[in-house]
C-alpha cells in the first residue's frame, strides 16, 4: 500500500518538498537550541513551561478527537462515517507524533528521554502520559493500517481488530484526561487546580479536533477529489457544535466560581488574561479575540440552516479552531504560571527560535498526515469502497 504515497502529481510533490524545506529550516533552530540550551526560548524561572507545552496540550485534544468518528461508527453503526473514520484514525497518528515532538523539544536534556522508561515512576502523571500517548499511537497505527490493508485486499475488517477499536475509544478519553491531570493536581497553581479541567479538556478536544479534521477533509475533497459524503460532514458538524456549546459553558463555570467567590487566587489569572494585572497583560488582546471567535462560531454553527451551508460552515469551523487554540494553546499553560505563587508577574512571549521549532514539528505532523491520507484515499478510491 505504501507505494501509493510515492505516486503523485506535481502539486503533491511540491507540497511534500515544501514541508521538508520547512522542517529543514526549523531544524536549524533546533540545533541552535541544542547547542545553547532552552535559553533561546522566552521561558523563565517563573514561566517554566511555554509555547511548546501549550502546543502539546492542544494537539493531544486533536489526537483524542478521532473518537468522535470511531465511537459512532463502530458502536452505533453510523454508516455515514465509513469514508471518514480512516482519516480520523490517521490524523490521530500524526497528532500524537506532534505531541511527542513538542515534549522532546521542551526537554533540557533530550538525550536522557529514556530515563522515563528506565526509571518508571508511577507517582508521576508524566509517566502515565507517556504510556497513554504511546499506547494511543500504537492502537491507531494497528487499527488504521490493518483495516485499510484488509480493504485493499478486498477482505472484511479482521476480527481481532474489534476489541482494539473498543479499547481505543476508552483510550482516547484517557489521553486527554491524563494530560489534564498533568496540570490539575498541582498545589499553588490556582488556574489549573480545578476539578473540571479534565472535562474542559475533553469538551474542547471534541470540538476543535473534529473541526480541524473536517476542514482538512474538505481540502482533501477539493485537492484529491475524495468526497467524505455530505451526511458525514453534517453529522460531524452537529457533534462539533454540541461539543463547543459544552466547552463554552464549562469555561463560564470557571468564571462564575472565580468571581462570585472572589477568592484572589482564583480571580487573578482570569483578570490577568482578560484585563491585565498590575500593568501587565500581554495576552489581553488574544483572549478577547478568543471570546469573539468563540461567540461568532456558535452563531454560525448552532442554527442548522447556517451550518448546512458550506460558505457559513467553513468560517464557523475556522473561528472555532482559532478560539480553542488561543484558549488552550496560549492562555491555559501561560496563565497557570502568571501570576506566580507569590503574586509576582513575569510576562512570557515565545521567541523566534521557539516559534520556528514549533513550525518544524507542525510541518512534520502535516507530512505524516499527507502521506497517510494519500495512502488511505488511494486505497479507498481503488477499491471504490464507500
Amino acid at each position: 500500500m505504501f507505494e501509493k504515497a510515492l505516486q503523485g502529481d506535481r502539486r503533491y510533490w511540491a507540497w511534500i518538498i515544501f514541508l521538508l524545506a520547512v522542517m529543514g529550516i526549523g531544524s536549524i533552530f533546533y540545533l541552535l537550541q541544542l547547542v545553547n540550551g532552552l535559553t533561546v526560548t522566552g521561558m523563565t524561572r517563573d514561566v517554566s513551561w511555554g509555547f511548546y507545552i501549550a502546543q502539546f496540550t492542544y494537539m493531544v485534544g486533536v489526537a483524542a478527537s478521532a473518537v468522535m468518528l470511531v465511537l459512532p461508527f463502530y458502536l452505533h453503526n453510523a454508516k455515514q462515517f465509513s469514508r471518514m473514520v480512516i482519516l480520523g484514525e490517521f490524523m490521530a497518528i500524526a497528532a500524537v507524533i506532534v505531541c511527542l515532538g513538542f515534549i522532546v523539544v521542551d526537554l533540557g536534556q533530550p538525550q536522557r528521554l529514556f530515563n522515563v522508561v528506565l526509571h518508571p515512576t508511577p507517582n508521576s502523571i508524566l509517566f502515565w502520559d507517556m504510556i497513554v500517548l504511546n499506547g494511543y499511537l500504537l492502537l491507531n497505527i494497528v487499527i488504521g493500517w490493518s483495516n485499510l490493508h484488509a480493504e485493499h485486499k478486498g477482505l472484511s475488517h479482521p476480527k481481532w481488530v474489534k476489541p482494539l477499536v473498543y479499547l481505543s475509544i476508552v483510550w482516547a478519553v484517557s489521553i486527554h484526561t491524563v494530560t489534564a491531570f498533568l496540570y490539575q493536581g498541582l498545589p499553588g497553581r490556582h488556574y489549573w487546580l480545578t476539578a473540571i479541567l479534565a472535562a474542559r479538556f475533553l469538551s474542547s478536544a471534541f470540538c476543535s479536533g473534529p473541526a480541524i479534521l473536517l476542514i482538512l477533509a474538505l481540502i482533501a475533497k477539493k485537492v484529491a477529489k475524495y468526497d467524505p459524503g455530505e451526511k458525514a460532514v453534517q453529522t460531524l458538524a452537529t457533534i462539533i457544535t454540541y461539543a463547543m456549546v459544552i466547552n463554552v459553558f464549562f469555561f463560564l463555570l470557571e468564571v462564575f466560581t472565580a468571581f462570585y467567590s472572589d477568592i484572589p487566587g482564583h480571580t487573578h489569572t482570569l483578570a490577568y488574561l482578560f484585563t491585565g494585572l498590575h500593568g501587565a497583560g500581554s495576552l489581553v488582546g488574544w483572549m478577547w479575540v478568543m471570546a469573539v471567535c468563540a461567540l461568532l462560531s456558535l452563531v454560525l454553527l448552532i442554527p442548522p440552516q447556517f451550518r448546512q451551508k458550506p460558505e457559513l460552515l467553513v468560517p464557523g469551523l475556522i473561528l472555532l479552531i482559532a478560539a480553542t487554540w488561543i484558549d488552550k494553546g496560549l492562555g491555559l499553560v501561560v496563565g497557570g504560571f502568571i501570576p506566580n505563587p507569590f503574586e509576582g508577574i513575569t510576562e512570557y512571549a515565545p521567541t523566534i527560535p521557539e516559534i520556528m521549532i514549533s513550525v518544524m514539528i507542525y510541518a512534520t505532523g502535516l507530512l505524516i498526515l499527507t502521506v497517510l491520507w494519500k495512502i488511505a484515499i488511494g486505497v479507498k478510491k481503488e477499491t471504490g469502497s464507500a
Partner: protein, 257 residues
C-alpha cells in the same frame, strides 16, 4: 515460501514477547524508592528528620543576609545569572510574598520593610517528588529533598509542582557564571533543575550546612524527631510560622517572626 515467512514471524513474535516479559521484572527492579538506598556513612551528622528554624529577628542588616547567601552560593557553585533565568538556592523576599495568606493591610511597619530568607522547605509531603517522572528529585529517609543532576531530563515538572518557587532551571550552561569555582562540589550542566539540598554533602562530612555556619545563630538546624535537640528547644520556646501550610505540603522550615 509463505509458510516459511509465517513460521519466521511466529518465532520472531514469541521471542519478542519473551524479551519484553524479561524486561518487565527488570524495570520493576529499577523502581526501588531512592530512600531505601540511603546508608549513613561514618563520621557524618545523622538525623531522622532534618528541619530548620529561621530567627528573623537576627537578620536586620543587608550584610546578615548577604553573608548567608554568599556562603551557600559559593559552596555549591551557584551561578550568578541576572534576570528571569536566575539560579538561586537561598534568597530573600518581602513579607507578603513569603507569607501571602498571612499578610494584611495594617501590617507592622517593621515586617513590611523587612526581608525574609527563603530556601527549599524540604516538605514532608513534597509535590516536586510526586511529579518527577524519573525520580531525579527524591526524598531521603531523613527528609532531605535531593536532586540527581545526572538523571534529570529537564522537563521542569518539579518547578510547576513546587508552590514555593524553590527550584531553578539551567536554561544555559551555568559554568561561565560561576566565580571562584569550588572544586569540592560539582558544577551543573545546562538543561537540568537544581535546588537547596540542606547541605547533604556537608552533613556527610560532619559539618553543619554552610548557611547555618555563616548565620551567627540566626539559623538553627537540627533533628525534628529528637525532642532533646536544639531545634526542638527553639521551637518549644518561640512562636513560629511556616509558609503556605494550607497546601498540606508540611514544610520543615520554620520562621520566628
Amino acid at each position: 515460501m509463505d509458510n516459511n515467512r509465517r513460521t519466521f514471524l511466529k518465532i520472531a513474535g514469541i521471542s519478542a514477547a519473551l524479551g519484553l516479559s524479561g524486561g518487565i521484572p527488570l524495570s520493576l527492579q529499577a523502581y526501588t524508592p531512592a530512600d531505601v538506598e540511603y546508608v549513613p556513612t561514618k563520621g557524618q551528622i545523622t538525623g531522622k528528620r532534618w528541619g530548620m528554624v529561621i530567627d528573623t529577628r537576627k537578620f536586620t542588616k543587608p550584610e546578615d543576609f548577604q553573608r548567608v547567601i554568599e556562603a551557600c552560593h559559593q559552596t555549591h557553585n551557584v551561578p550568578d545569572i541576572q534576570g528571569n533565568e536566575e539560579i538561586k538556592w537561598i534568597w530573600t523576599d518581602h513579607f507578603e510574598q513569603v507569607f501571602p495568606s498571612s499578610s494584611n493591610p495594617y501590617l507592622a511597619e517593621r515586617y513590611e520593610q523587612q526581608d525574609f530568607l527563603l530556601l527549599c522547605n524540604h516538605c514532608n509531603n513534597p509535590p516536586c517528588v510526586r511529579v518527577c517522572p524519573t525520580k531525579a528529585t527524591f526524598q531521603r529517609a531523613d527528609g532531605i529533598i535531593m536532586m540527581d543532576f545526572h538523571r534529570c531530563i529537564g522537563c521542569r515538572y518539579c518547578m510547576a509542582g513546587c508552590p514555593y518557587g524553590s527550584r531553578s532551571f539551567n536554561f544555559s550552561d551555568p559554568k561561565p557564571y560561576v566565580q571562584n569555582l569550588n572544586p569540592d562540589f560539582p558544577a551543573r550542566m545546562r538543561g537540568v533543575v537544581e535546588k537547596c539540598t540542606f547541605c547533604a554533602a556537608r552533613l556527610e562530612q560532619g559539618q553543619m550546612p554552610a548557611c547555618v555556619e555563616a548565620s551567627n545563630g540566626g539559623l538553627i538546624f537540627g533533628d525534628l524527631s529528637d525532642p532533646d535537640s536544639e531545634i526542638r528547644k527553639v521551637l518549644r520556646e518561640n512562636f513560629t510560622v511556616r509558609r503556605k501550610v494550607e497546601l498540606g505540603t508540611n514544610p520543615c522550615v520554620f520562621y520566628i517572626v
